[in-house]
Symmetry: C3
Subunit: 339 residues, 3 copies
Amino acid sequence: MSFTLGQIAEKIGAELAGDPDLEIKKLASIETAGPGELSYIASKKFKKYISTSKASALIVPPKLKTDGLNLILADDPNLSFAKAMRMFYASFPKVEPGVNPSAVIAESAQIGDECFIGPNAVIDSGAKIGAGTEIHAGVSIGSDVVIGDNCKLFQNVTVCYKTIIGNNVVIFPNAVIGSDGFGYARVAEGHLKIPQAGIVVIGDNTEIGAGTTIDRATLGETVIEKNVIIDNLVQIAHNCKVGEGSIICAQAGLAGSTIVGKNVILAGQVGVAGHLTIGDGAIIEAQSGIATDIPSGSVQFGSPSREAYQAHKITALLGRLPDYIQRLKKIEKYIDKMK
Amino acid sequence: MSFTLGQIAEKIGAELAGDPDLEIKKLASIETAGPGELSYIASKKFKKYISTSKASALIVPPKLKTDGLNLILADDPNLSFAKAMRMFYASFPKVEPGVNPSAVIAESAQIGDECFIGPNAVIDSGAKIGAGTEIHAGVSIGSDVVIGDNCKLFQNVTVCYKTIIGNNVVIFPNAVIGSDGFGYARVAEGHLKIPQAGIVVIGDNTEIGAGTTIDRATLGETVIEKNVIIDNLVQIAHNCKVGEGSIICAQAGLAGSTIVGKNVILAGQVGVAGHLTIGDGAIIEAQSGIATDIPSGSVQFGSPSREAYQAHKITALLGRLPDYIQRLKKIEKYIDKMK
Amino acid sequence: MSFTLGQIAEKIGAELAGDPDLEIKKLASIETAGPGELSYIASKKFKKYISTSKASALIVPPKLKTDGLNLILADDPNLSFAKAMRMFYASFPKVEPGVNPSAVIAESAQIGDECFIGPNAVIDSGAKIGAGTEIHAGVSIGSDVVIGDNCKLFQNVTVCYKTIIGNNVVIFPNAVIGSDGFGYARVAEGHLKIPQAGIVVIGDNTEIGAGTTIDRATLGETVIEKNVIIDNLVQIAHNCKVGEGSIICAQAGLAGSTIVGKNVILAGQVGVAGHLTIGDGAIIEAQSGIATDIPSGSVQFGSPSREAYQAHKITALLGRLPDYIQRLKKIEKYIDKMK
């Protein structure tokens, strides 16, 4: 597959500054791009490549416009490159609809039109699978699960009973949706299990990473709203709610009953304690530990977290702490002599 | 299913303060409870709901007794609500005993009475499965594994060869029990694998979360004693021992050969270094990193951890560090002028 | 199986100091070793056992040579014990080559000689499996995956389409190789998925732990070079490269496009931000958060990390911070009185 630079600029809705007929055969990262390839520069860190890249063309912000280069000028080069990626590549490999004979499907399960049910997949009684949905090899769908249209559940995913999944949801391999929440009451002889009688509800267009676990509610629902993206090995405990458009990066974890607002970003390895509220648009930096409610729009860092500007200031001061302590001791000596 | 408030109070062994004939149709969380529903208040944070909740009845501590409300008075409302949950809901959906024809069971494996062996489950040679145990879809049981009675191994769990599992153990989806410990010796050409010749032994009544990994010992046993509860995505390395009644929350990790005492709590994302001992009843707060032996009953926080009261004091002082540094500089200036 | 102490010393290439005809029936850890058993002392922490151990023989460093004991003297007792372990124990249980009839193998897949394809394994179209490779129960191999010779992929592993795996690679249960990278561009209605059109390439002799996830590149390759060992529940994001001989401990995570050099050690729960370079031989201590490039040979600790000697010094000073703040306040009072 190939496109001209002009075709690409037009399709992604950005301004061409160069040869419209230049043939682009491939897309490539800025470090490796060569002749016939289109790449992009989205941040200052990569600005130097404008003069050194061997790419035939680049998507760059308008301020990097340079005579003699074949460029596409875009306010958001990252987004424009994403659109170009979607011209060249499908998001997922195509699979032919059909039910593999090795799949085990309960009689009472309902499978929509044009579904793909892969080898050794298991679909339990009462489950409903929407049209065009793909259930890949080794996936286990529990009883009474409802899955919408055009979803993709990749290999060895487990979806436990009664989970409700919207349309266009993607779940990557070995993720577990709807396992029991971690609920027990202490008794003399150990721990009394609290039945986890609730469910998980996943909104439309959500993507859930490999190995991620989302637990069913004790009562009611654990909710992932629409347009949420969740990376690999994330833990979401019972009764949590993650608001529309939020991003949860790898290995982050939410304890029980915590409410994450809309368009929140939890960076990698963040931990959030239970029964808290994180306001809309908050950004929690990597490895932070959230122990209190966080207001909308706040940027947080540290364990326990503080406003990020303050946390970073303290981090910087800590680097000079040995010096400050020396200075304190020097003052003490001076004063001792004065006495 | 419904019960009267009187029936519930009697069954859970708590004092009724209200209409014994009030019909309770459902249980609900305090934030959402409405007419016909019973909820509970277990901590100060939720005390306000006593006047605002639309629940028909509440389980509360005796000191919240209020005239005109239908209440159950309980010293441990959390435990009492757990008991009520168990009146209304089963801990797990019932499955019919039987062996699904798609399961692959080695001839030499022994399956107890009334077992459920789900679709596409695999049971290898020499494995023994106790009476009433459920092996769900896609579970893989290695050779010579021994599993007790009335266990539930949910979908896509892997149990490696020779693992020994007690009675009434629950293992949630995609957990891995008995995979090789991370043992290598450094050699010029890379890493020489140390055979992991030991096993994992899991005690009675233990619950193990989704995606959790517990590694086999190099020699001898990795031991999880009885009544331990382990949350999702926890890592337990080779040769560790976790004592009776302990709680390990999500994404915590133990390095090799560490001994966790009885009734210890490791909160979420805690990490414990290798060859350490954590004393009975210790509590390790979330995200802490344990780098030394911890005495019984100690409460720890931080990475590396300290006694929690000290760690929290230091955290508070750090918030004022920029101010203290300013004050130090002011003193320096004053003294400079004096000289 | 048993060997004489003399046979063991000869085979592992270390000096015998004791009875060459002593029969060793088993190996054991130093804490539990008894009569007929060989153990080892590799660090100061275990030195005390030289006088208290009931083991019949010990591998110890030359400086611990003690008259009257049966010893093997070795400069690296850990390595020597590893070699002894390999005399007594196989690294993995043997499996008989053959294809289980329940496995689902696409017609266009190529299976090498003497392979083991376990129950309910799935091998998709165009995949190539090298000679002597074991694909255990429930493993799913995607389309066009290439796997070398003598690999072992344990139960319920998922390998996504087009992944390339070298020779002698071991992948432990429920790991996921080649799932989509976490790449999206922000748009008004949510997140625009960026197709993850690259692949994962795994070098020879690499071992990958249970539940670990390694994502495919956006473009090009996510690369794990040869002789790398990766523990359980590790996350490696798209476009990362991990250099030859490196060690990544449990629950560590790399964000996208980060380059880890050769012979690097990332300890447990370490997090590394994206687009960074960690130099050869660097050691990142447990739970550290790496936010900048790290030079070769550097030892780092903390979140965000510093050179470890400085980080540990600051940690120690923090323990005395309450005292230093008191001393600061005392000076202020003294000066106030002077004014």
